[in-house]
């Protein structure tokens, strides 16, 4: 009980942080905004196709449903402390519970502790992990060599290599791995390895190891709908492979592009300092000084994306 309360409290604190950083936490900021973003999209028709007959995924997509909790916790959870109740995103196994090995479940729960919130990469302004990115709007573009580009939030770009068969050498480890794509019928399958395991799948501490293999399936259903699933295979952490999906199918939004933003989340970020100080104090480390004694005493801004 107490644990859950603390967890929710800390998640709430982090949500405030996210808000302060002007992170697009709900993709577009709530269900009303989602509805507005879909206004004007022509009714769903047949799957649009490219010259080679494969589905044309070009456009802006959002499967968040405008809810925030998918970036917080992946399994079924009660509401409270500013977090909406939500069902599980796990579609396999059927019980909706991530099949952690016992040690890994303990580790996931440790990461949920208040005092360990700073370990979450998003609190550092570091990049969102793949499962988390599925809770935000994104743009897909096809390149003439067949590659698929996904423009995610926070300037994160994934270049899905459609021509390469072999993954990068083992020594190259990347925040969001090495994605290689292929078509299976009308489904774009993206196979990602070479992860560095520095990111979390959700604020709630869900994780995999650097040896995980992530298999995403983008299945176009009609001109306005893509079904997305993510299957995680990692014998080091889980007892079996498991699969999650987005809150709702990825749904087409109007192609609104903002060319002029710049992600400067880590500049003058008081919230980051606060999180780190809490972490340091709890873990017997020396916190950062509140401000540097030397040099210009600049203004602490809110950080965020301008």
């Amino acid at each position: 009980m107490r644990t859950r309360g603390r967890f929710l409290l800390s998640m709430t604190a982090l949500l405030f942080v996210a808000a302060a950083l002007a992170m697009p936490v709900s993709g577009q900021g709530g269900a009303a905004a989602i509805a507005a973003a879909r206004k004007g999209v022509p009714p769903a028709g047949p799957i649009p196709r490219r010259a080679d007959g494969k589905p044309d995924l070009t456009g802006r997509w959002n499967g968040s449903g405008g809810v925030l909790h998918n970036t917080v916790i992946l399994e079924e959870h009660p509401g409270g402390f500013g977090i909406q109740a939500g069902g599980t995103l796990i579609i396999d196994p059927k019980d909706g519970i991530i099949p952690y090995q016992p040690w890994a479940l303990a580790e996931r729960n440790r990461r949920r502790e208040d005092a360990n919130g700073y370990e979450d990469q998003v609190g550092h302004c570091e990049i969102y992990e793949i499962a988390r990115l599925a809770s935000f709007a994104f743009d897909i573009a096809h390149v003439s060599n067949g590659d698929v580009i996904i423009h995610h939030t926070q300037h994160i770009t994934r270049v899905i290599d459609m021509n390469r068969k072999q993954h990068l050498p083992d020594g190259i480890r990347l925040w969001n791995g090495d994605p290689i794509g292929r078509w299976e019928g009308d489904t774009l399958v993206v196979d990602t390895t070479n992860l560095n395991a520095k990111g979390r799948m959700a604020l709630g501490g869900d994780f995999y190891s650097a040896d995980a293999r992530l298999l995403e399936r983008f299945t176009m259903k009609n001109s306005n709908t893509i079904d997305w699933t993510l299957t995680v295979t990692d014998p080091k952490v889980f007892t079996r492979p498991w699969t999650m999906t987005s809150h709702e199918p990825m749904t087409r939004e109007r192609n609104v592009q903002n060319f002029d933003g710049e992600d400067t989340c880590h500049e003058g970020n008081v919230d980051l300092v606060h999180l780190k100080n809490v972490y340091d104090q709890t873990h017997g480390k020396v916190p950062w000084p509140p401000v540097y004694p030397e040099g210009p005493q600049g203004r602490w801004g809110a950080g965020g994306t301008r």
Partner: protein, 281 residues
């Protein structure tokens, strides 16, 4: 004690890592850019797509310079004015010297180079820091996807270019880009700079009044000519232009380099108070 070591490490990571990218290709000078006819994209634009990288010394100093610790001597990249020197106003030249002197401190807070704090490099610096970037073209937008801290610039190239935001609303490290094609050349005009970014590790700088016009021209199948013209009446006596060749990287795509994450892993402060109003030049 740990901090001292970490600071040395960070200097190596943030500043020195640029040194890993040296190759003899820097001598490849292509003529005016007209001799080569580039392939076209399906929408008829010159096809500049691919992964590009500057294998040269521009990151250290845009002007001709002697050796410094960790910095090889080399020629400069300023092609106009003809003397190869950035045309500073006298007061600005003094500021450049102060900037340069301040780059020796391993403490990111005290070091004068904004890049040591993992602040965004600015344009044109991000082009030739040594990390690769990928050009992706669509009908209405050209995307520059940079490996350095996964930064991205999206340049609208439509006939109906969106209006520029007011400097009151948007001031960016990398400015705000607006593009167009002139023959085989992608021309990008950049404004709305915040005035804090530098041009290189030698302290070359500008004010928020900076305007940068970049010109990307394919001069061979694997060679992209890069030109940038800087205009800033508060700092320079006249516009000036740099030119260099970028090489196509064929073996591997864009990987990652998360600058602030590396500071954090080294136990270094990676967020600082700072002024958000443009500095006085």
């Amino acid at each position: 004690m740990q901090t001292g070591l970490a600071r040395l490490l960070i200097l190596a990571v943030v500043v020195g890592a640029a040194a890993l990218s040296l190759s003899p290709n820097m001598t490849a000078q292509a003529p005016g850019g007209q001799a080569y006819t580039p392939p076209r994209t399906p929408t008829g634009q010159p096809d500049l797509q691919g992964v590009w990288r500057a294998w040269n010394l521009a990151k250290y100093d845009l002007e001709a310079h002697g050796a410094r610790p960790g910095v090889p001597a080399g020629l400069g990249f300023v092609v106009d004015p003809a003397d190869g020197k950035i045309p500073y106003q006298p007061a600005a030249l003094k500021r450049r010297a102060e900037n340069s002197a301040g780059t020796k401190d391993p403490d990111p807070w005290k070091n004068s180079d904004p890049l040591v704090k993992c602040y965004l490099p600015g344009v044109p610096r991000i082009t030739y820091m040594g990390w690769p970037f990928q050009i992706i073209q669509a009908a209405d937008v050209v995307t520059f996807n940079y490996e350095w801290s996964h930064k991205k610039r999206q340049v609208p190239v439509t006939a109906k270019v969106p209006p520029l935001p007011s400097p009151e609303d948007v001031l960016n490290w990398n400015g705000v880009p607006r593009g167009r094609f002139e023959g085989n050349t992608l021309v990008v005009d950049n404004t709305n700079f915040n005035g804090y970014a530098w041009f290189d590790m030698a302290g070359n700088f500008s004010s928020a009044a900076l305007k940068v016009t970049e010109r990307y021209t394919l001069v061979g199948p694997d060679t992209l000519q890069y030109e940038a013209t800087m205009t800033d009446p508060k700092v320079f006596t006249r516009p000036w232009t740099i030119r260099m060749q970028l090489q196509r990287q064929k073996d591997v795509g864009i990987l990652d380099y998360e600058c602030t994450a590396m500071l954090d892993e080294l136990g270094i402060h990676h967020t600082w108070p700072r002024e958000f109003e443009p500095p006085e030049p």
